[in-house]
Symmetry: C2
Subunit: 348 residues, 2 copies
């Protein structure tokens, strides 16, 4: 067969390999700072977006989710799974890929791996929340849970908010050792801690990113002092939380998209009308963020489709005129759009 | 960078080009007969599936939809757009791609074009409905609307139900000429008709597949005689129908998944409790199909996620040990699943 597909048939594909090349081409810290800027810009025009809680398919061992959104000009969705038991089988807990498409034609314009990209945007999102909610001068972060997300969180906080010290804790000391080794040349002061109490000592920011699919109590009420900002990242699906409810009760709670967070986040422990603010309102000035120094602020992060939209939009811009993608023949493009069958027939 | 991705990182990708090669390798008619068998088998175990209406993002000029489903062992979703105005711009009205994944791990196992595959499965679905609903011996079909779907419908009806004569009509005679030319060697008697009335003369089966996004009346009540089976395929989104409501009222109506069809199909013209039967119940014997020779049966087809699941499952089987796919590096697969950052860092 010598059929030649038209340019319209091709969609740029960014593989894992090319995503990593692109990240290093830009620089990891710069990439996350850029993502934070893009997410902040999209959150500032929040009301333009089609918003819907993700569409989840649950099984006994995990979940597969589709996360779509659109600003009326571009459309994006992400496929993402969450399978905590995968780790024991040598597989990723979370893998993801996504698509950016043109609303006017419905044609996809980017197909990309998003396992690496989600790790980057999740950290950028925490950094944006911290920027708007932590006390001024916050520069020490406790990082509780030193798994796949931990280094990204630390680097994003340095890049966006000037965090200079990270205090690492994990139930598995090998995870802490891995995290510390990976961050050795990141320009951060790294403190390896033996207990969560030790880790949060002197921390202005506490970020929790643990993976167990259970109601956990990573932090108990008496551990959290006044004035801290907490990013609770690991509690992100029904039945999976990290904080004792009393901490949530004492905090001012901020979320991405409340209809989703009340089901998936720390807020699932609270009444459906528990006070909480959507972060975009803090960014636009429509609502107040932190109102006093001693206040505890809690970003109950679960991940929302607009963050993926921002990330895919950014990657689409960045790959132009680079070698960090290949074109794949994803779209059937017959000469006469009514003649799909003729195209198939002539391919013989 | 010389990083070598592990086998787990790769997902087979079937491009448009390779899908067409695969279809010709199997044979178009055989491929559709096989798809009909797979769809019928999956409809027979309907109750095992996670079912949800598709998730649609509407704009002024079209719609982008995600259609997921799962049988608890495998998960599939399709991305599909519908942009009727695309045709005037030399683009496809409908383009699609999809993914088959493993429920146990959440890992994708097939990424495939689905523009061509959707055309094939849509025709196979009509043939399955016709097999279970048309009068015995039905062998003449009126094909109203001779666009991108028409030839597929004709060939599937021949392959599955022994239809030997097709009577073609389109408002645009050029479309009819194209359809007739494409079917010239299909082993069908082809009758080109100048009016819809002419086309349905003597037809046992009437299939409508028109593309305008409006409430159309392709068939009026007095055109439809007793005993026919109608496949109304083109009315497939809110505000888009093909039949006069009186025809729907006179017919026994069968649908794929009623919560979706009542919003998207011909049934959107009727009250929410208008009697209708899901086709899977006819296939399993749980409900009656046609009950008398003079009855008019109407398959109000809008397309449902399980048909895409069946098609992706079939393609996944068929590509094994063939050259009709390439492996793409879609999944990040670090040696230590907790060390995603280390993988990124070492890629530098």
């Amino acid at each position: 067969m010598t059929l030649k597909a038209s340019p319209l048939a091709f969609v740029p594909f960014v593989s894992v390999d090319n995503m990593m090349r692109l990240v290093h081409h830009v620089g990891i810290a710069q990439f996350m700072a850029d993502l934070a800027t893009e997410i902040e810009a999209d959150f500032a025009r929040w009301e333009l977006f089609d918003k819907t809680p993700r569409l989840a398919s649950h099984s006994d061992v995990g979940v597969i989710e589709l996360m779509p959104t659109s600003d009326g000009v571009q459309y994006a969705f992400k496929y993402v799974n969450g399978h905590p038991k995968n780790m024991q089988e040598g597989l990723q807990t979370v893998t993801a890929f996504g698509v950016l498409a043109d609303v006017d034609t419905g044609y996809p314009k980017l197909f990309s791996e998003m396992t690496v990209l989600t790790a980057l945007r999740t950290a950028a999102m925490s950094a944006v929340a911290t920027k708007h909610l932590a006390n001024p001068g916050a520069n020490t972060m406790a990082m509780i849970g030193n798994g796949a997300q931990s280094e990204f969180q630390c680097i994003a906080q340095k890049a966006v908010n000037g965090v200079d010290t990270v205090r690492l804790y994990d139930v598995d000391p090998a995870a802490t050792a891995k995290c510390a080794a990976n961050l050795a040349d990141a320009g951060l002061t790294i403190v390896r801690c033996d207990t969560p109490e030790d880790a949060i000592e002197g921390a202005d920011i506490i970020t929790t990113a643990t993976a167990d699919k259970n109601m956990q109590t990573i932090l108990t009420d008496n551990m959290v002092g006044n004035g801290v900002h907490i990013n609770a990242i690991g509690g992100d699906c029904p039945g999976k939380t990290e904080l004792h409810g009393d901490i949530v009760a004492r905090s001012s709670v901020f979320a991405e998209y409340l209809p989703q967070t009340r089901v998936e986040g720390e807020l699932q422990q609270m009444d459906d009308d528990h006070p909480a603010t959507e972060l975009w309102q803090v960014i636009t000035g429509a609502a107040k963020g932190r109102q006093s120094q001693p206040e505890i602020t809690l970003f109950d992060g679960v991940g929302f489709a607009i963050e993926d939209f921002s990330a895919l939009r950014y990657v689409h811009q960045k790959i132009q005129d680079t070698p960090f993608y290949i074109d794949i023949d994803l779209i059937a493009d017959p000469d006469d759009p009514r003649d799909l069958f003729g195209m198939l027939k002539r391919a013989h």
